[in-house]
């Protein structure tokens, strides 16, 4: 069955050199984009071009290539700012990944604004990056960590939201679950946080790569995401914050770049965004991320989302039809309420054994807890297999997964 697709996926696939690779006598079927995305040639080339023509340190040099490098870094910042609807590029801070971005918020804003007993509310479906830094604050200053539960349908259970938010100083949540694909009710959550005077932090690591994002419309205080999941390189992440809250946040990592003045007695911080960027920034990585933004925009975020919804529907139907009752797919049943992240288990076959068989067919799927152990535990699961879709995936990829699943089910059917 050929579903109507708005993207020319064959052409898009051709943009990604790794997808031409043959493994284990077949083509590479990459279904692990929630883990990290592949990179189009344009991104790889932009970084090589930077190193081959304009490599220099930024904000420091008084010569041509240093100006080019600075324009590359700051131009990428402007692109990212536009891409997410920031009010100004002063609000866009480059970090090394989403994890550093969230740690910055917790350790710089959190440590300076929270005190013992202050309630911080997160959800049960958070990635460890939005859990463990809070655990450190529990240990360090005794904040109280509260959890919004997840229901069996993969959606947040908001029954007790008011009670959970009572007196809260912070509400921090993922825009999209990296395990269940669930898209969270962002507007409602931000409004609820605002209503009790809590700040709102959004971990948009799984959202920004897949759905058009407007941080100003969300109205949150901080938004974190990561370059390598959005067709960009490793080594770069983004923290967006409103100017007001960034101005009210002390510096985190310190050293070069982020200072205005240093004496033996102390230091004065630089203006935004550099105040939060200590040391040589990820320059080539910013150039690559800028190229990734260009690439995604050239395809169109609306088209990408539409394609993924369609393909997710196809995957949910196909896998259920072909595997039947032995297969359980977790997360929302309705494609429009989720991203293309499919966590599943097959009766009597451990996910790790499943993916081992998949590998024989060149099918790349992750098995494990996906850095969301509290969620796994609440679902009563040790591990799931997780296939995740992106703009370069098509029905043939889903079919390859289904075939590999059938083969694994046969092999382990004792």
């Amino acid at each position: 069955m050929e579903a109507r697709m708005s993207l020319d996926v064959a052409r898009i696939k051709a943009d990604f050199p790794i997808l031409r690779r043959q493994v284990r006598d077949g083509r590479l079927v990459y279904l692990d984009s929630a883990n990290t995305s592949q990179k189009p040639q344009a991104v790889i080339d932009a970084m090589a071009h930077y190193y081959e023509n304009s490599n220099a340190n930024v904000h420091r040099g008084t010569y041509l290539i240093a100006e080019e490098a600075t324009a590359g870094l700051e131009g990428a910042r402007a692109k990212v700012a536009r891409f997410i609807g920031a009010a100004s590029e002063r609000e866009v801070i480059f970090t090394k990944n989403a994890t550093e971005a969230l740690n910055l918020v917790v350790k710089a804003w959190g440590r300076s604004h929270l005190k013992a007993g202050d309630p911080v509310v997160i959800t049960e479906l958070e990635h460890h990056a939005n859990i463990v830094p809070w655990h450190q604050l529990v240990e360090e200053i005794g904040i109280e960590l509260r959890w919004i539960p997840v229901g069996p349908d993969g959606h947040l259970d908001l029954t007790d939201l008011d009670r959970l938010l009572d007196g809260a100083r912070v509400l921090s949540f993922a825009a999209m679950s990296n395990v269940l694909g669930t898209i969270l009710p962002i507007d409602r959550l931000v409004a609820a946080a605002r209503a009790v005077g809590a700040i709102a932090i959004i971990d948009a690591s799984q959202y920004v790569p897949h759905v058009a994002t407007d941080v100003q419309a969300w109205g949150a205080d901080f938004v974190a995401f990561t370059g390598h999941k959005m067709c960009g390189p490793t080594g770069i992440g983004v923290l967006w914050g409103t100017e007001a809250i960034l101005d009210d946040t002390p510096p985190f990592l310190t050293g070069g770049e982020m200072i205005l003045n240093v004496t033996k007695e102390g230091f004065t911080v630089n203006e935004l965004p550099w105040k939060f960027e200590a040391g040589t920034p990820p320059i080539a990585e910013a150039v690559g991320l800028g190229a990734a933004v260009d690439y995604l925009e050239s395809v169109g975020m609306e088209s990408i989302r539409e394609h993924e919804v369609t393909l997710t529907g196809y995957a949910l139907r196909t896998l259920t039809e072909r595997l039947g009752d032995r297969l359980t797919i977790h997360g929302p049943a309705e494609p429009a309420e989720r991203g293309g992240v499919l966590s599943f288990v097959v009766d009597d076959i451990h996910p790790h054994d499943l993916t081992q068989v998949f590998d024989q067919y060149g099918v790349c799927v992750r098995a494990g807890h996906h850095c969301a152990k509290p969620l796994m535990r609440s679902m009563g699961l040790g591990a799931t297999a997780r296939a995740s879709l992106y703009l370069y995936n098509d029905e043939a990829d889903v079919d390859a997964l289904a075939a590999a699943l059938e083969s694994a089910a046969d092999f382990f059917a004792f």
């Binding site: 284990r24 451990h350 996910p351 790790h352 054994d353 081992q356 068989v357 024989q360 098995a367 494990g368 807890h369 152990k373 796994m376 040790g382 591990a383 083969s407 092999f411 004792f414």
Partner: protein, 164 residues
């Protein structure tokens, strides 16, 4: 499954389907230790009853893939009734089979440890796990229960060396 014969030997699948010594022991008196494979989520709990220096009973709880579960099952069968010292040697021998040489800078040129360090032991059924070495990611699955056992053995030793 072509390509996976070395991994999924019949005896491994048998231990996976019919795990030996599955369960728990009351702790204390039994020793208990948890092990995690942070990469794929496997969790194992080893319960070990040792009155003196002999392993009187051992039980395995937790969950994991066929490799970690079968390795744990075989491990439990192999050490039950053995002394702590014998169990230690088995741990060493098993990890050596898994190509893990401790305190080695395991770059490409890392010379293998002198054979003297590796006790020459009959590994029996455990030999079936040798094929795992070809699947580097699974080595952590295979060794999870053994590392957890090693922690329990350390505990027993430090307890017995403590003044009573």
């Amino acid at each position: 499954m072509p390509g996976l014969e070395d991994l999924y030997r019949e005896i491994i699948l048998d231990h996976y389907r019919n795990p030996r010594n599955r369960g728990e022991l009351e702790s204390p008196p039994a020793h208990r230790s948890e092990g995690f494979n942070p990469l794929c989520g496997d969790e194992i709990v080893v319960y070990l009853a040792a009155d003196g220096t002999t392993i009187d009973d051992i039980r395995i709880a937790g969950q994991g893939c066929s490799i970690s579960q079968s390795s744990a099952s075989m491990m439990s069968a192999a050490v039950k009734g053995k002394t702590v010292a014998e169990a230690r040697d088995l741990v060493k021998a098993f990890k050596a089979m898994m190509s893990i040489h401790e305190h080695e800078l395991d770059g490409e040129d890392g010379a293998p440890e002198p054979a003297a360090d590796t006790p020459e032991l009959k590994l029996g059924d455990l030999e079936a796990l040798r094929g795992v070495v070809k699947f580097p990611v699974r080595i952590k699955c295979a060794t999870l229960s053994w590392n957890t056992l090693a922690n329990v053995l350390n505990e027993i030793e430090s307890a017995s060396s403590r003044p009573q």
